[in-house]
Each structure stands twice: as C-alpha cells, then as structure tokens.
C-alpha cells in the first residue's frame, strides 16, 4: 500500500511539474515579447540639448524639423511614428500658440484634419498642454494598394526657457491605444 501511495504521490507531482513548466515557459515568453517590442536605446540631439530613449528597432531620422522622427517599419498600412520638435517662444507667449501653429500646418498638409481635445497634463514636475487630433492618410505611393488610413495623433507641448518642446505621436486609429505605450515611454524619458 505504501508503494501504491508513493506512486500516486509521484504522479500528482508529475502533473504539477507539467503545469509549472508551462507557466515558466509562458512567463519567459512574455518577457521575450516585452523585450522585443519595447526595448529602447538613447538618442541625443546636440542642437537642442535634448536626450531621451526611443524604440531600438524603429527607424530614426534626425533633421531640422522635426529634430527627430522615429517610425516602426513593420507598422502595416501606417507606420506608428514618434516625433520631437522645438519652436521658439516669446517670453510672454503661451505654449498653446505652438499648438495653433502646428494645427495650421497640418490642416494644409493633410486631409480631413480635425482637432479632438485639448487638455492640461503634468509631465514630471512640469505642466504641459496636450492636444489629440485626427486626419486621413492617403497613400503617396500609387503602387500601394490599400484604403486611406484614419490616423490619430497627440501633440504634447512643454515650455522650456524661451522655446516649446513638442513631442508627437501618430498611429492608425485602430492601433492608437495598443501603441500608446511607446509615446508614454518616449515622453517620460525626455530630458532637456
């Protein structure tokens, strides 16, 4: 009887071992997923003395306007994009002016541009102004065969010693919420 009981106990432990191995595998899989999707590396913009971190596997372009544009090359019909730009700001000017200027630019450059909501948010110890907007992206490449994409975006502007630092997030409306984490991480690591 002791022999039988020992065998049964071993069988029970064997069942639990299977579940334990599965849980370990899935946990490792989750860590791998997070690392693959969200690993970042540092960027430095000398002109504006701005540093931050952006997804390591995204394409990066440094230019005058925007200072940085980084895009997910595997984004499908619309590549999720993060941008960083600065605008000079007079001593008595409000950061909202920078948002107004961007709104006018985008209204010219895009189709069906609409601003959605403007709100004050805090970014660490600083206060910031955030505006969400939407527009329709039509393919520039005539050989690309897909429907126009509804893009949703966010501009976040922070006043910094005579200039406005503007971080922008652009994603297709369908993936906006799923990819928002990239923008949150991007903004939280900005240092200027």
């Amino acid at each position: 009887m002791a022999l039988v009981e020992g065998t049964r106990r071993r069988d029970r432990w064997a069942d639990w071992a299977v579940i334990l191995v599965l849980l370990i595998a899935l946990a490792l899989g989750f860590v791998l997923r997070q690392r693959t999707l969200y690993t970042t590396s540092e960027f430095v913009i000398d002109d504006g003395a701005i540093t931050g971190r952006a997804p390591v596997r995204w394409l990066r372009e440094f230019d005058a306007n925007p200072l940085l544009r980084t895009r997910n090359p595997r984004g499908g019909a619309f590549n999720t994009t993060l941008e960083l730009r600065t605008r000079p700001l007079a001593a008595d000017a409000e950061p909202a002016l920078a948002l107004q200027a961007l709104t006018l630019e985008r209204a010219d450059d895009t189709s069906a541009y609409r601003t959605l909501e403007t709100s004050e948010v805090s970014l660490g110890a600083r206060s910031a102004l955030q505006r969400t907007f939407t527009y329709v992206q039509t393919a520039q490449n005539p050989y690309l065969d897909h429907l126009p994409v509804v893009v949703k975006g966010v501009d976040l502007v922070v006043e910094d010693e005579g200039r406005a630092v503007i971080a922008t997030y652009l994603s297709s409306a369908e993936t906006f919420d799923a990819n928002y984490r990239y923008f949150r991480d991007f903004v939280q690591t900005l240092d200027f």
Partner: protein
C-alpha cells in the same frame, strides 16, 4: 498477504500479480499494456502517404480543371479541405484496427476536446494575448524562442490536457500505445480548428496553397501530440521520474517551435517580377519528414519498451 490492486482497472488482483516497476497489473491489463499493435503504425504510415497522395491529386485536379471558385463556394471548398486530414486518419485507423478498435465515442471526444481547446484557449492566447504576429517576425532569435515558448508550449500543453484529463484516467487507456493514438487524435482536432480559422479569416483561400498548408498543419500537430502522448503512455504504466511528463511536453514544444520557425523560413522565397514570395512545397517535405521520423521513432521505442518488459517478466518467471 497484502492485497494488490490493478493500476488500470483498480480491481483487487485475485490471480498472480504482474508488475512493471511498482505498478501492479491484473493478467488482462498486463497483456494489454505490453501489446504491440501493428495496426496503429500501419495506419500512421498510410496516413502520411495518403495525405501526400491527397495533395498531389488535389494539385493535379486544380491544374487540369481550372476551377474558378469565389465567395461562398471558395469558402466551402476551403472548409472541406480543412476537414480532410482528420477524416482520412479516422478512415485509415478504423480500417486497419478492425479486430479491437478504440471506442469511437472516446476517439471523437478527444478530437472534439482538442478542437475546443484550440478555439477557446489556444488561438486567443497566442493571437490576442501574446499577439505573436506583432513581434515574432522582428528577429530570428525572437522568432525561434517565441515560437517555442509561446506557440509550442501553449499548443502542446492543450493537446496534452485533452488526453490527460479525459481518456487517460479511464479504462480505455490501457496500452502504452494509447498515448500515441489519443495524442494524435487531439493533435488532429487542434489542427482542424487551426485550418478552419485559416480558411475563414482569409475569406476563402488559394486552394492550391491551402491544400498543402492544411496537410502540413495536420501532420505537424499530430506528430508532436503523438510524441507527448508517448510520454503519457509510459507514465501511466511504468515508474517514470517526476520530470518525465514535463520533459515530454518540453520536447514536443521545442520541436513544434523549431518546426514553426523552419517552415516559415523554408516557404518564404525572394520576390521577383515572375512572382514568388511563398512556396509551400518545402513545408510539405519538412512536415512529411518530421511525421515519418517521429512515428518511426515512437514505433521503435514502444516496441522496445514492450519487449524489455516481457523479457524482464520471463526472467523473473512471469512475475
């Protein structure tokens, strides 16, 4: 004298007690546990050859008949294709196994359970929770490791569950080879749902590519589930260590993940003006090789285990 209980039927053993390790068997279940069932292996070989033959015939028909299906008719044709591998296996198995067939209710039950677990747990977990399409293709290592850790372990665990918590504790699971049989059935149930999802999500499919994909999925899922089923069969009738079942699951998951990765690499070709981008034939060759090797190896291992058990019993004078 201490009363012994048969580990299969849980009845007191009134005749001579037979043992494999510390497990006691009545005469009938000892004979069952160590039985070599040639019909199972013949059905396996016929299944692999039959599926390859099915692909070749279907491709020939598509080539000669110039079928112009679209919309609902294309969807229905795709769904019928998705069911063919499971129907073929069942037909071959029962045709080969007429002397003492497995109960149809048990076989269909495990098949349905494998299919249900795929639809209710496997596909949502892999596609929606882990969203593997977003990150597996990013790099070779993330692809290999993700295919093993997420896809391989999830699929193999669910097929294992379909056998372990349904037929395994019952009297019907009374031979070592039953693990391979019911594992294969669970794998075919899982594969059928994967194939149906593939057809439905595509809204109908290119039939020439679909027939190969359906067969490749069925061969692979059945082989890896058969492998973990082998570990289940040994665990029920022998004294295996605590890590035995988890090792079986891990081995099946690793092979599943490597297969998923290799199939993706082998079937992706370079694009040219003449076409290209996808060639399913290497995937079929790989799946047939994997299935043939797996079932050949399991055949050898189970026959060897049965032979060693019977030789040991003979040496001890039948006890």
């Amino acid at each position: 004298m201490e009363e012994s209980i048969c580990c299969v039927c849980h009845q007191p053993i009134e005749t001579e007690v037979k043992r494999i390790g510390s497990r006691s068997f009545c005469d009938y279940h000892y004979a069952q546990a160590t039985r070599n069932r040639g019909s199972v292996w013949r059905a396996g070989v016929v299944q692999i050859l039959g599926l390859i033959g099915f692909v070749l015939i279907a491709e020939l028909v598509f080539l000669l008949a110039d079928l112009d299906l679209s919309g609902g008719s294309l969807l229905i044709a795709g769904l019928i294709l998705a069911l063919v591998p499971a129907l073929l296996w069942l037909a071959f198995f029962y045709q080969q196994d007429q002397l003492e067939p497995e109960p149809k209710g048990a076989v269909l039950g495990v098949f349905a359970l494998g299919a249900l677990l795929a639809q209710a747990v496997g596909i949502p977990l892999i596609q929606q929770v882990f969203q593997v399409r977003r990150w597996l293709p990013i790099g070779a290592w993330s692809n290999i490791l993700g295919s093993i850790l997420v896809v391989g372990f999830t699929q193999e665990f669910l097929k294992y569950v379909a056998v372990r918590y349904s037929i395994y504790p019952t009297l019907e699971f009374d031979e070592r080879v039953d693990g391979v049989i019911y594992g294969t059935v669970a794998g075919l149930g899982y594969a059928t749902v994967l194939n149906i999802n593939y057809v439905v999500q595509s809204g109908g499919v290119n039939l020439q590519a679909a027939v190969i994909r359906v067969v490749v999925t069925a061969l692979a899922q059945a082989s890896f589930a058969g492998l973990s089923g082998y570990f289940l069969g040994r665990a029920k009738f022998e004294d295996e260590p605590v890590w035995w079942l988890s090792s079986g699951l891990t081995l099946a998951a690793v092979l599943n993940g490597l297969f998923t990765y290799l199939r993706g690499e082998l079937t992706t070709t370079s694009l040219s003006l003449a076409g290209g981008g996808f060639n399913p034939w290497p995937g079929l060759i790989l799946a047939a090789a994997v299935a043939g090797t797996t079932f050949g190896l399991l055949f050898f291992l189970i026959r060897r285990a049965n032979r060693l058990t019977l030789a040991g019993a003979d040496a001890k004078g039948g006890v």
